[in-house]
């Protein structure tokens, strides 16, 4: 485990971003986090568009995706990723406030790799984020072409 994988965090709420980053910081997982503020930005990152034309050519090791996003919502982002041959291998973890069964079913149908409901309790939240970060960015072997341990 020489390096950790890059995490693409797609989250519109700055407070959630801060809490997530804080949780990841505690375990030194925050350095490789790229934050996209909406669905469009996330797709721009993945397709080297907009601000991300110059980004490095590896895909993130994991994508933490909120569902309720401005412009393009999380389910749409998920759908585009999973239907694109070049991106479909990127592990996507839905990280959402909603416990709605409908969202869960749709996400799994679209091929999501994990579905996590953000706990209200901060300790649980931190634990969840930490475990996600550790698992996807450190333990999990990402598909070839991802940032990190090739």
């Amino acid at each position: 485990m020489s390096t950790i994988g890059r995490i693409l965090l797609v989250e519109d709420d700055p407070k959630d971003v801060e809490l997530t980053l804080t949780a990841l910081e505690e375990y030194n997982l925050a350095n490789e986090v790229v934050v996209a503020r909406d669905g469009e930005e996330a797709l721009n990152y993945l397709y080297y568009r907009g601000n991300f034309t110059m980004r490095s050519h590896e895909n993130p090791a994991v994508l933490l995706l909120d569902l309720k996003l401005p412009k393009i919502d999380g389910l749409e982002v998920l759908k585009q990723i999973k239907s694109d041959g070049n991106l479909s291998m990127i592990p996507v973890v839905v990280l959402t406030s909603s416990r709605e069964e409908k969202d869960m079913v749709t996400s799994y149908k679209l091929g999501v790799n994990a579905y996590v409901v953000k706990p209200v309790d901060f300790h649980e939240f931190v634990n969840a984020i930490r475990e996600l970060g550790v698992f996807w960015a450190v333990i999990n072997e990402p598909p070839p072409g991802s940032v990190g341990r090739a």
Binding site: D13, K15, T22, K68, R99, P119, V120, F122, F125
Partner: protein, 498 residues
């Protein structure tokens, strides 16, 4: 009948020949009488008259006898030489003319008799046919169905009692009228295509709107049958009608009701969708700030711990606790609203199995407590397993909660059979109970009968139970006395029918 008096009965053979003898005898007597009084040469017309009478009334056989007798008597008594059958040469033409006239008379009479016989025969035929037709017509009159016959130019030729009852016109009024004009028939399709079908297949049926004599409209199921004559030409149409106005009205009513129902269904679906959107936004947007409150308060607690005094720590604790409670409320409320929104998947389920599952869920809440569980016999019932399990969990965990102050809690779960197709399940405890005067508040959302610091809870559990049982068509109620336990009941259908 009129004609029976006009035609005399034919005479029997004896009567006929007798008449011949009598007539000739009478003519002879009259001729003899006149001859004595010097009226000669009247004998021949007299005998011809006799022959004519015989031929007319008795037919050709007796007429022939009369000719022979008249010839002989006339020759013997009146044609010289008298009292001899000898005929002089001069008398031959005389005699021949007599015979020819007599034969002519007989011939006319026989023709007349033949005509009379034929007439009688056809009269008999006619009588039979009339009787037959009358009987058929009276049979058709017996039926309640409306039957009438129209000729090919649509003129009514027969009209039964059923037709009179349905449409109000008597046969006298209806027969001879144009059927479609009389009844103002409105056909479902072009009349030409009906005629084409009738001529093609010999029958047609459909629903026709008609008007009664009093002006009211009726819808009838109409069946037409085509009658053809000996040359296979279309001759008449037999039409039977059944009044289906009431049925059509009910069908229309059902259609209207269905449309209403559909509209209501659509409205409900829209409301449901709105509710769903509401719940969705609640679950997202209400939980996020809560999470931030908790998250940042915890961060504050962590970062500022050294500078916070005891009171501040307590305040921070209260903030966290309140936020957690709000989180629970939102979760419960969402679960509650989900019960109303999701479809129930009903099938036969074992209540015993459900209670076992519910007990294992509640077990961790009751660890270390002295609880005596009693589970009675429970039948199978018809319902949504996961919903009913949730209802049981709520009731059982309530029972566990409100017996917490008891050194030894007793919780009993069982069932009673009151109606054949219904089961009543109860959960009884020896807990703190409640005052029955607040029982109407028991099942309301956010309604609580105990202070929060004594017995925690969101006040949604029993509302959830009620909603679940109501969705199963059942009833839920409770009995209690303060400080002597409570019993909660709910009824369920045992099979899918109820």
């Amino acid at each position: 009948m009129q004609w029976e008096r006009q035609l005399p009965k034919p005479l029997s053979a004896i009567q006929g020949y007798g008449l011949a003898v009598v007539c000739v005898s009478v003519s002879f007597a009259v001729a003899l009488f006149l001859d004595r009084h010097h009226f000669s040469t009247v004998s021949q017309p007299l005998f011809l008259l006799a022959i004519a009478i015989v031929a007319w009334y008795a037919g050709s056989g007796p007429a022939a006898l009369a000719v022979v007798l008249s010839g002989l008597v006339n020759d013997y008594f009146f044609i010289p030489p008298l009292y001899s059958f000898y005929i002089t040469r001069d008398d031959v033409p005389h005699f021949v003319i007599f015979i020819l006239v007599a034969l002519l008379l007989s011939w006319f009479a026989s023709i007349r008799r033949r005509v009379e016989r034929a007439l009688l025969q056809s009269r008999e035929d006619l009588k039979r046919e009339v009787a037959e037709r009358t009987q058929q017509a009276s049979l058709l009159n017996l039926t309640h169905d409306t039957i009438f016959v129209r000729d090919m130019s649509d003129v009514i030729t027969y009209w039964n009692r059923g037709a009179q009852e349905l449409y109000g016109w008597t046969p006298e009024e209806a027969i001879g009228k144009q059927a479609h004009e009389l009844l103002h028939a409105v056909f479902p399709v072009q009349i030409d295509s009906i005629r084409a079908e009738l001529l093609d297949s010999g029958r047609w049926e459909g629903e026709v709107e008609k008007t009664k004599s009093d002006g009211t409209r009726v819808v009838v199921a109409s069946r037409w049958s085509l009658r053809r004559d000996d040359q296979m030409r279309p001759a008449a149409i037999l039409e039977t009608n059944n009044d289906i106005t009431e049925r059509k009205r009910r069908e229309q009513e059902i259609r209207t009701l269905n449309e209403d129902l559909q509209k209501r269904g659509t409205e409900l679906a829209a409301i449901n969708k709105e509710l769903e959107a509401f719940a969705y936004s609640v679950s997202h947007d209400l939980r996020a700030p809560l999470r931030h409150m908790v998250g940042f308060t915890e961060l504050l607690q962590k970062h500022a711990a050294p500078v916070l005094n005891e009171k501040s720590h307590r305040y921070v604790g209260i903030i966290l606790e309140a936020a957690k409670r709000m989180g629970d409320l939102i979760d419960d409320l969402l679960a509650f609203s989900r019960i109303g929104r999701t479809e129930t998947h009903k099938k036969s389920v074992s209540l015993e199995q459900l209670v076992r599952e519910a007990l294992s869920e509640v077990r961790h809440e009751t660890e270390g407590r002295n609880i005596e569980w009693k589970v009675g016999a429970l039948p199978a019932c018809y319902g949504d397993g996961s919903m009913l399990r949730l209802a049981l969990i709520n009731l059982i965990s309530n029972a566990a909660k409100f017996t917490r102050t008891r050194p030894k809690a007793e919780i009993e779960i069982g069932s009673t059979d009151q109606k054949p197709d219904q089961v009543v399940v109860f959960v009884r405890d020896n807990g703190v109970g409640f005052d029955m005067k607040y029982s109407d508040k028991l099942f309301g959302v956010f309604q609580r009968l105990h202070p929060h610091d004594t017995f925690e809870g969101t006040g949604i559990g029993l509302a959830t139970v009620q909603r679940i049982i109501h969705r199963h068509g059942g009833r839920v109620w409770a009995e209690s006395q303060v400080d002597s336990g409570a019993t909660f009941y709910f009824s369920l259908s045992k099979s899918g029918g109820g």
